[in-house]
């Protein structure tokens, strides 16, 4: 997770570009940027995910976390361009700027994705069994329709759908949102991907089913020894599902590290605010919940220098220049001129897994 300007290739995990550095590195992102018409929506994002590792990516709406995920998938909307480098273990080419023919061989096989809206992510006019079978047939991981169908039944059983043999012949509208998300998950896990990207997979679901779907995702990933990049704005979810977390704001990674460490001892002022805002037990003198003042600026309109400085109570003139990445461990660090002192942290509990405050 990494640095800033051209000065430091200083991250522990990163050294040089090209193929993954270590044998168990699954995804290596270097210097990733996303631009639209000259505006930078995401810039200088560097990170690595190792095999079987579950990494969370949190931030408010507009922080660029979804764009980061979509860049990895090569599914940016029309008009948006990715720069930098995204390498996947076992794939001989860079995913950025790869042509559709190459990307389509990777998607669904090496990387798979679970989307936010289960209600619309499935084709309403196709039986779910065929939709699952399709991903197997496209990548020829099953030789024929019959075996693909059998595999689909199996997958539906794995994601805990009742009566999977009947479910393959049902249409999406016959399922509830949580059930549909399981179908989407079944599609994503069908080819045992090296990396699963989840974009707020539980946000649209009822609170009561969120935990179960989350549990299924984690189990599915663990069973396959797949790596996971998990995008959410819900800190509790990250705490439950991930080992490591990256905090994004204004299109940049502002802090990263093991979940426990970042959530209990945040260094970046933004991370601190975020955690404070999701702590429903902490109120101020007047009995109000803590919030981050101001609102997220429109993309590309973040201040120069530290992107958070216009909402930060601690900002000084120094913040007008860009803060360097300060590594604090092999996979952790932050970019802030006025970090929270390591000792002076109020003991903030890791939020429990429930509908926590949203950015």
């Amino acid at each position: 997770m990494t640095p800033a300007p051209d000065t430091a290739p200083a991250t522990a995990s990163a050294s040089g570009q090209g193929s993954p550095d270590r044998p168990d590195d699954v995804l290596t992102v270097r210097n990733l940027g996303v631009t639209v018409g000259g505006r930078k929506l995401v810039e200088d994002v560097d990170f690595t995910i190792r095999a079987g590792e579950r990494v969370g990516l949190i931030g408010e709406s507009g922080s660029g976390k979804s764009l980061t995920a979509l860049s990895v998938m090569g599914l940016l909307p029309d008009g948006l361009r990715a720069t930098g480098s995204v390498r996947l273990a076992g794939v001989g080419h860079d995913l950025v700027d790869a042509d559709e023919a190459r990307m389509s061989r990777v998607r669904g096989k090496e990387i798979a994705m679970v989307f936010q809206e289960p209600m619309t992510a499935l084709n309403p006019t196709m039986k779910v069994g065929r939709q699952i079978a399709e991903v197997l047939l496209v990548h020829r991981t099953r030789p024929d329709r019959a075996s693909a169908r059998a595999a689909a039944v199996d997958l539906l059983a794995q994601v805990g759908l009742p009566d999977p043999a009947a479910a393959v012949d049902a249409y999406p509208h016959q399922f509830s949102g949580g059930q549909r998300q399981r179908v989407v998950l079944a599609i994503a896990l069908a080819n045992d991907p090296a990396l699963l990207v989840c974009d707020e997979p539980t946000t649209a679901l009822d609170v009561t089913v969120q935990a179960r779907v989350l549990d299924l995702i984690v189990r599915g990933v663990q069973d396959r020894r797949s790596a996971m990049l998990f995008i959410t704005h819900d800190l509790a979810v990250v705490a439950t599902a991930c080992e490591r977390v990256m905090v994004m704001y204004g299109g940049r990674v502002v802090e990263s590290g093991p979940v426990q460490e970042v959530f209990t001892r945040p260094r970046h002022r933004y991370t601190r605010g975020l955690i404070g805002a999701s702590d429903l037990t902490a109120v101020d003198d007047r009995g109000r919940l803590a919030t981050i003042p101001g609102s997220v600026p429109p993309a590309g309109r973040f201040p120069a220098g530290c992107v958070f400085r216009n909402r930060c109570a601690h900002a000084t003139e120094a913040c007008a220049t860009r803060p360097d990445w300060v590594p604090t461990g092999p996979d952790s660090g932050y970019a802030c001129f006025h970090p929270v002192a390591e000792s002076g942290v109020r003991g903030t509990a890791v939020p429990t897994n429930q509908e926590a405050g949203r950015g």
């Binding site: 998938m73 389509s104 619309t120 992510a121 084709n123 309403p124 006019t125 509208h173």
Partner: protein, 316 residues
């Protein structure tokens, strides 16, 4: 599903009855006594009265309406006031002509519009997409009869490749039939195609924004294949609705092309009958068109009912 089907059939029947009443009532308002027109300018009042009696025009409206509907239902619409000939075969002939014209025109329109519309949607931000889009906009803006006149001027009168106008029943001379069909079908197909292209573009654009299309790509389908496998089926729904509506509308809309190319279709029968005050024929033609529109809409509805899994179930 059966309940829905029964409901739709009931709606269709009620619509048919209501529209037949509307048509009949409208005809009653039309100025110009058919008997007078049939007899010419200086026929005596007694002769006119006699003819009115013969046609049954002196009966109460309800009786006239009922016998008209009876004629329609039994496929025996009776005899024209003006031509003194059976209307049934004439309607069948004219309808056949127009169906050839409109059918071939629509098929051509589809052949042009489906690939164009998809291409325009897929490339809607690229120069090629914009150029196609501009072309289709221009196509929509040109009146169909102007296109027809230009085609005649160039290909018939100028180059002498094809006949300028006329109609020959296919059974009489198939080669001539085809030759005479080309230009009218072209002018109809191009203009309709341009209109259709816009609809297809917009439908495909809508579908391209759908999440399930992104899901399909995330599965590893290439964009075109994802669109074909997952998108087109869904994009087809609004397009087919429009297509059905256009098809029915064209039954009379083709009259302009029929006029340019001197084709004895349903539209020109309508025009002739209106100017001759051949009211029964006018009534029948209008009713045929209304029936066609209602029927086609009903069929489209029913097909959706059969195909869309979401409509099939209990919930809407």
């Amino acid at each position: 599903m059966i309940v829905r089907l029964v409901k739709r059939i009931a709606v269709l029947l009620v619509s048919l009855v209501v529209s037949s009443v509307l048509v009949f009532a409208f005809m009653a308002v039309l100025p110009g006594d058919p008997a007078r027109v049939a007899l010419g300018t200086s026929a005596s009042e007694t002769a006119v009265a006699q003819l009115r009696e013969q046609f049954g025009l002196d009966r109460p409206f309800v009786a006239q309406y009922l016998s008209w509907v009876h004629g329609l239902v039994t496929f025996d619409p009776g005899t024209s006031y003006i031509s003194h000939t059976e209307i049934g075969p004439q309607l069948a002939d004219r309808l056949q002509v127009t169906l050839w014209l409109v059918g071939a025109g629509m098929v051509l329109a589809c052949i042009l519009a489906v690939p164009m519309g998809i291409l325009m949607a897929v490339r809607h931000r690229r120069p090629s997409g914009l150029i196609l889009s501009a072309l289709s906009q221009a196509g929509v803006a040109v009146p169909a009869f102007l296109a027809g006149i230009l085609l005649i001027t160039v290909f018939a009168v100028g180059l002498g490749w094809l006949p300028a106008n006329g109609w020959t029943p296919p059974a009489q001379d198939p080669v001539l039939f085809l030759k005479q069909l080309v230009l009218p079908v072209l002018s109809l197909g191009m203009v309709q195609g341009a209109v259709l292209t816009r609809y297809i573009r917009s439908a495909v654009l809508d579908v391209l924004r759908e999440d399930y299309l992104r899901t399909a790509r995330a599965k590893g389908l290439r964009p075109m294949r994802a669109l074909v496998r997952h998108g087109l089926r869904n994009a087809a729904v609004p397009v087919v609705t429009v297509l059905a509506l256009q098809l029915a509308t064209l039954l009379v809309g083709a009259v302009v092309i029929e006029r340019v190319f001197v084709i004895p279709g349903l539209g020109s029968l309508l025009l002739d009958s209106v100017s001759n005050r051949d009211l029964i024929v006018v009534q029948d033609v209008v009713m045929i068109i209304a029936m066609a529109v209602l029927l086609v809409n009903f069929l489209v509805d029913t097909i959706y009912l059969m195909i869309d899994p979401r409509l099939r179930g209990g919930s809407s």
